[in-house]
Amino acid sequence: MKKRSSCKNPGAHLRVESMRNKRVHFVLLCSLIPFAGCPSAPEAPRYMGAGHSSPQRGGTFVFYHMDDVRSLDPHTAYDELSNIGIKLLFEGLLDYDSEAKLIPALAESLPEVSSAGLRYTFTLRPNLRFHNGRALNAEDVQWSIEKMLSPDTGSPGYNFFSLLEGLDAYRQGKQAHISGIQVLDARRIAFQLTEPDQTFLNAIAMTFAYPVPKENYLAHPNDVSRHPVGTGAFVLESWEPGVRIIFRRNPFYHQQGKPYVDRMVYWLNLSREAAVMRFRNAEIDVLHRFPRADYFFFKQSSTWKPYFKEEPEVNLWGLTMNCELFPFNNRHIRRAVSFAIRRDWWNKAKAYRLHLTGQPVPPGLLGYDENLPTQHRYDLARAKEEMRLAGFPKGIREPVTLLMANNEGSDTFGELIQEDLRAIGIPVDIRWLSFPVWMEETAKRKNAQLFLSGWSQDFPDPSDFLDILFHSRAIHDMNSENKSFYSNPTLDTLLDRARVEVNKEKRRQLYIKAQMILTEDAPWVFIWNDLKPEAWQPYVKNYHPNPVWSEFYRDVWLDLPRKANNSINKDIP
């Protein structure tokens, strides 16, 4: 029938087709009806605090991470996620306050230091107990540090204790104990160094030096990382790998009345997107590492403003140039590159989530100088002038190879480097590598010309950046820490002097001088420090992002019962 009618009227099949299309459109439109009344997301916090002004005890604090925890053994764990849990379960002789100053923790006070700066004597607080109820004494501290430094443990902490007297003999099996660790009595212990070191106390405050009970290591010789027993504010209640860890209050904790919360729940493997939604639903109590859109939401929200903080992390990112390879063996070429990087563009490309810098020492550390005259900055005319002084006024014909690791967001940086260096006549070829290969290639002598790299603090001291990244002692043929292979005897002398200098102001001046040498010689282009935004619920009190420990929640208290916020969809300016 249809065929016949279409033969009579050539336009009929078009009308049928048009009718069908209308029906399809109608159906498509109808399918959108369920989404027409889309409820809006809460603009403001769902709950506010009860209004208590003094710390309250009780409640469960919930936090999360996008990844999984590797280990809860303080001797071997060396990653941020594990340390978040370790900081709840363990405590060291020393710790840091919110200003990154060393404070006593298990130690009664800061140690007595001998006049030559070689001997540190600590006194433990009285009545310290492990989670298992056993009293902690100086022998436990000695056993723990010796166990950590034993070659069988393979702890990354070894690097920080290399100046302990008798360490080599102990590691070679010539001595049963480290002669530089002496137990004076049940509560007193002394450490003897082979030469003065201003960073030794920082090493003692690191998680590697946290005391652990010997019996626990004997009971779990192969999986002690799953059975942590410490002296910290919380005890491990349960750990479901890949899902969550639950901590409960330690009844033996030495600080009276602390911790405030009864339980802490650490959700693992929660995606950033899900974490933001859960946070805005008040299902988790803190938020960090926001997706881009959510970052702007929290940054611009007036209702979240009191519960949002963004600070530069103590790390450094920059463009590393191999000073032993052409063309970066020419100081002027390195300086030209340092003037050619358009930091503002980089920041824009990264949604303004970088803290731009032009010097190696990150903000907050001794020697950082906001007004450092030689700090790196964008100046194309200077860059071209430096190229002329280098003898390449028209640029370099042979492309430079930029090694990039396949990490999140690294493609953008690769393109930005290519673009900026093209402006001064340096063509760049990008070679993408897997992270392990990139690590190997960049740490080999006379191998990698140019690459983007970073460094984050082990402890808040400039030596942790300058000594490792730029001292000629840190140059090795393989696995080199000084990856620019920059060697300058004047800088080495300055850094060695600064490492042992007791006077803080003199030490600061030495590091400023070192910074000036480095910015002028430019083995790196110093570009940025990461910004770390964090938000927390209004009923979470006493949370101050710690400058040393990431996501350190031990001392928070909850202002309960939390009160429902009646104006959650109003972002009141």
Binding site: L28, G154, D223, A274, M478
Partner: protein, 314 residues
């Protein structure tokens, strides 16, 4: 039939060995896992200790021989990252993925087949258009977008489901699995609906269906007793492969919903990089692909006598 099954199992073992060997070679071109595990601050002494501990200091052929011998004993080594035996990790992760996969597969099969039948029966009418529109939309939407939308709309804004995660007890696991399962199912159901519709339309125009109608059987009887059964065969073939893919982990969905299953584990092991775990996920995936294929072949044989006869004669 039993001979056929044994032959298929033998073939599957050969394929798994082939894949394991390929992955082993590939892993050893991706750089030193010791350097990657210990990070940029590791000293040579620690790197050497790590290599020794995990046998990475031995020649490649020896490591390969050890790997094959370990696999023969059902030992998948220990994770570089956590030191937990890989089999123990799999014991935890695999049931979660199978749970999510079977839930989503049950939903998508039921919904997809039903929608396909409706679309075929009501061809070129409103229900057909609705089903086809649904199918177009779901085909065009990338998985990550669908997952984000589901999370944002149904979990966050409407509050009908928990916002990602795994839950704490059986009931809670079920609650948490529902939205990721539905997201996977919606995407999968579109495939089944289209295949079922097309097959059914073709079957409904075959001679034997017309004969059955001429003999006086009702339309419903012909549809469900004859046509649907025949049209179901390609759906079974697809379901076998789909099962394999779901069992080895829906990478994007598991990651976005924070479901700690095999897909999420595979991603973690690639980025970490944790080669024993990566190899474990590859082996499990490979075994499930083989198993899914075998299962769908057996199901086809059960549904279609012609398939059975062919295999037996072969």
């Amino acid at each position: 039939m039993i001979r056929y099954i044994f032959r298929r199992i033998g073939w599957s073992i050969f394929v798994v060995w082939l894949v394991v060997s390929a992955v082993f070679v590939l892993m050893n071109t991706l750089g030193d896992p010791a350097v990657a595990q210990l990070g940029p601050k590791a000293q040579k002494v620690q790197i050497d200790a790590f290599r020794k501990k995990h046998g990475l200091n031995q020649p490649l052929w020896k490591r390969y021989a050890q790997l094959i011998s370990r696999l023969g004993r059902g030992d998948l080594d220990k994770s570089f990252r956590t030191d937990i035996p890989v089999t123990q990790i799999m014991e935890q992760r695999l049931p979660r993925t199978l749970f999510l996969g079977s839930l989503s597969m049950s939903i998508e099969l039921c919904v997809g087949v039903l929608l396909g039948i409706i679309a075929a029966v009501f061809r070129r009418r409103i229900p057909d258009h609705v089903v086809m529109a649904f199918s177009w939309i779901t085909f065009s939407v990338p998985t990550f977008l669908a997952a984000l939308f589901a999370l944002n709309y149904f979990a966050f804004r409407l509050g009908w489901f928990p916002v990602g995660g795994f839950g704490t007890d059986t009931w809670d696991h079920m609650r948490h699995a529902l939205l990721p399962a539905l997201t996977l199912a919606v995407l999968g159901a579109a495939t089944y609906a289209r295949v079922m519709r097309n097959e059914l339309l073709e079957t409904l125009h075959t001679d034997y269906v017309r004969t059955a109608r001429a003999k006086g059987l009702s339309y419903i009887e012909v549809l469900f007793r004859h046509a649907v059964r025949t049209a179901f065969l390609p759906v079974v073939a697809i379901a076998g492969l789909q099962f394999a893919s779901l069992a080895s982990g829906a990478i994007i969905t598991e990651t976005l919903f924070g479901w700690p299953g095999m897909g999420r584990l595979a991603v973690e092991s690639i980025y970490t990089p944790d080669y024993p775990v990566l190899l474990g996920t590859v082996i499990v995936g490979c075994v499930f692909v083989q198993f899914g294929n075998l299962l769908s072949d057996l199901a086809l044989a059960a549904l279609d006598p012609r398939v059975r006869v062919t295999e037996e004669s072969a």
